[in-house]
């Protein structure tokens, strides 16, 4: 029952792997989950923003590429013949643009270069372009790296001359993405910094939240660790606990209640037993010591030995009964049952106690339905009824009555032993079947009981799976009901 030697449970490998222990703990897991989910949320948000930004850039550049293409188409159609003027026009157009790094090439349907700005053939062979039709309004560019490792967005458009249907041109435009790449690069760096900060922050905040959340559990753990046999009366404070933990703490407190009660009963029982053993042992020892103190007559020795025998008998009976009761309380005890004639057994027991009843001037009666039968252990049944009668006789004054009634009720054989005795105060009733429980110490001791008779009856009832009840009214009498399973 001692909880002291290891109040905290050692987790194997705790010293070598603190991290492993941490993540096996509830607060560790909570921290991990909290940090992971918060971090994931931040990461997804930033990722989406980044993707949106990239898309915006792509759309913007595609728009620019289309604009440039359209401008070239217009130029082509206006100044149809002069390639020189077209080239000049292109150069002036492009140089006036904010973004200088734009390459343009116009080829005819056979791939011969008509106009080219900034010698782009060296960097951008035809094969890099994905050819699209002018009619495709949703056409978009494609990204490509040059041999020198620079990122461009390319767009190639086939253009038909409405006035001369056979003639087609291909306009290829390349846009240097250096500027956008720079912006995206900066943005990505910010994202990484933001993410690492978020990870750290989530872990720390998560740890504190988890830690705070499970503090009541730790409190309960500590309280449980403090429980020893001498502090069984302490209880957990449940008022300020969260609901879930409150239930746990409540259950824990109820367990403590039961433990305390069992513990109290065990120690009370040990005290009772010691007391009951001490009395006959004291008598034995004292009697013999005195007898041996000086030479005595045979008659005196015989008297002392007789007295010693009586004490031995008392001890034997005490031990026998305790053993019997203990055995029925511990394991699943089995008894041999026989189909017993209850009516007959009751009259047999009554005959045995008749003289004692007459001596006490108490009327002892048995009223029983004929031929009641039940599966009973004969010796134990006699013992139960005998103890109940003896107990009733002991507490019934002269001219009183002890009545035994037996009847069948549904599938049960109900036996009621009632007396017109002094009765038992209500506060004692729940305990009268406990071992050594005495309503009145002085009287019981004087009338020879050791407080085991009724406990014995309860054990016998339990062995037969019978129901046992007691009702009593002070000054009027007591009524014990035994309901056995019928045959």
């Amino acid at each position: 029952m001692s909880l002291s030697p290891s109040a905290t449970t050692e987790v194997p490998g705790r010293d070598r792997w603190p991290a492993a222990t941490f993540f096996r703990s509830l607060s560790g897991r909570l921290t991990l989950w909290y940090a992971a989910s918060a971090f994931a949320l931040v990461a997804v948000t930033l990722g989406l923003l980044y993707a949106a930004l990239t898309n915006t850039f792509d759309d913007e550049i595609d728009g620019f590429l289309k604009d440039t293409t359209n401008m070239l188409v217009t130029l082509l159609r206006e100044k149809e013949t002069s390639l020189e003027s077209l080239k000049k026009e292109i150069d002036s157009e492009l140089s006036s643009r904010r973004y200088a790094r734009v390459f343009v090439r116009v080829t005819d349907s056979k791939g011969a270069i008509l106009v080219e700005a900034h010698q782009m053939s060296h960097d951008f062979p035809d094969s890099m372009f994905m050819l699209m039709d002018e009619a495709d309004e949703a056409r978009h560019g494609s990204d490509a790296l040059t041999k020198r490792g620079r990122l461009f967005r390319l767009m190639a458009t086939r253009v038909h001359n409405p006035e001369n249907p056979g003639e087609t041109h291909v306009i290829q435009v390349a846009y240097d993405r250096k500027h956008e790449s720079g912006i995206l690069h900066t943005y990505r760096r910010s994202i990484w910094i933001g993410l690492s900060t978020a990870l750290l922050a989530c872990a720390i905040v998560g740890y504190f939240i988890a830690h705070r959340g499970i503090r009541p559990v730790q409190q309960i753990t500590q309280a449980a660790g403090r429980v020893t046999s001498s502090t069984l009366h302490e209880r957990l404070e449940t008022r300020n606990l969260p609901t879930e933990i409150q239930t746990l703490a409540g259950t824990f407190n109820t367990m403590l209640d039961r433990l305390e009660e069992s513990f109290r009963r065990v120690s009370q029982f040990s005290a009772d037993i010691a007391h009951e053993l001490r009395t006959p042992l004291g008598n034995l020892r004292g009697g013999m010591e005195v007898a041996l103190g000086k030479p005595r007559t045979v008659e005196e020795y015989r008297d002392v030995l007789g007295s010693a025998l009586e004490e031995c008998e008392r001890l034997t009976r005490l031990v026998d009964r305790l053993l019997f009761i203990a055995r029925t309380e511990s394991a699943e005890s089995r008894i041999e049952l026989e189909n017993l004639d209850v009516t007959h057994e009751l009259s047999v027991v009554r005959e045995f106690y008749e003289a004692a009843a007459a001596d006490a001037q108490v009327k002892l009666t048995v009223t029983s339905e004929a031929s009641l039968r039940a599966p009973l252990n004969r010796e134990l049944f006699q013992s139960a009824i005998g103890n109940l009668i003896a107990n009733a006789l002991r507490h019934t004054p002269p001219q009183g009555e002890v009545a035994i009634a037996a009847a069948r009720a549904n599938d049960r054989i109900v036996i009621i032993v009632s007396d017109t005795g002094c009765g038992i105060p209500a506060e004692h009733l729940p305990h009268v079947f406990d071992r050594f429980y005495r309503v009145d110490d002085a009287r019981s001791a004087a009338s020879g009981g050791v407080g085991l008779g009724l406990a014995l009856v309860r054990s016998i009832a339990k062995l037969h799976q019978a129901e046992l009840q007691i009702q009593s009214e002070v000054g009027k009498g007591t009524r014990v009901t035994l309901a056995f399973r019928g045959a």
């Binding site: 045979v298 015989r302 008297d303 030995l305 007789g306 007295s307 010693a308 025998l309 009586e310 031995c312 008998e313 034997t316 009976r317 026998d320 053993l323 055995r327 089995r334 008894i335 041999e336 047999v348 027991v349 005959e351 045995f352 106690y353 003289a355 004692a356 001596d359 004969r378 010796e379 134990l380 006699q382 013992s383 005998g386 003896a390 020879g448």
Partner: protein, 226 residues
């Protein structure tokens, strides 16, 4: 009558030897199972009193060896265990009776006598003790020629006492034989019955027949010569 006591506890063996010798039995004692079995096989005993918990060879084993060797000697088992299963086991192995420690010596003596009497029971009709005459068949008892008016249970008690005259009977035994009460009533119920019988049997006469043996029980005899 020769009795073998197989018991390893010295004090128990000593008082069994003493008590049985004083009841005019010849007693041999063995303090372990091997010796006990050996003695039982080579000697011819009328009864073996066998403890179950023994060194070298336990009582169950001794008992089954005896039965295997067809030794007809009746066996009385002694044990500290009183679980029903043990009792059943003992009787199944062929023990004639069974006594749970601690027991009253008078109880043991009664069982010993009862086992030794088996097979030699002759139905007596009339038993006479001093001037008391009990007719077991007609259920009639007279003292000094005067018929006593006894209830059936009083007569049953008296006939038990006269049939076992000179033998101290414990209250438990009396309750069992007369009222068929097999439990330890632990009360003075038997004393009340005996007192009522005495009122009819002894009170009117100067010579008392029922004697109380303190701490043991009752015996019927003219007087204890001690």
């Amino acid at each position: 009558m020769k009795i073998l006591v197989v018991e390893d506890e010295l004090k128990s063996a000593a008082y069994l030897r003493k008590g049985l010798s004083e009841s005019s039995y010849v007693v041999d004692v063995a303090d372990n199972g091997e010796d006990g079995l050996h003695l039982a096989l080579v000697n011819n005993y009328d009864l073996i009193i066998l403890d179950v918990m023994l060194p070298k060879r336990d009582g169950w084993s001794v008992l089954s060896e005896l039965k295997k060797s067809s030794v007809p000697t009746p066996v009385l088992l002694l044990t500290a265990k009183d679980a029903v299963q043990d009792r059943v086991k003992g009787l199944e192995l062929g023990a004639d009776d069974y006594l749970v420690k601690p027991f009253a010596f008078s109880e043991l003596l009664a069982r010993v006598r009862s086992i030794l009497r088996r097979g030699t029971t002759r139905v007596e009709q009339m038993i006479q003790v001093a001037d008391l005459e009990v007719d077991l068949i007609r259920h009639r008892a007279t003292r000094g020629g005067k018929r006593m008016d006894l209830t059936p249970k009083e007569f049953a008690l008296l006939s038990l006492l006269v049939r076992r005259k000179g033998e101290v009977l414990s209250r438990t035994l009396i309750a069992e034989k007369v009222w068929d009460m097999n439990f330890d009533s632990g009360t003075n119920v038997v004393d009340v019955h005996v007192r009522r019988l005495r009122a009819k049997l002894d009170d009117p006469y100067p010579v008392k027949l029922i004697q109380t043996v303190r701490g043991v029980g009752y015996v019927l005899e003219p007087q204890r010569d001690d």
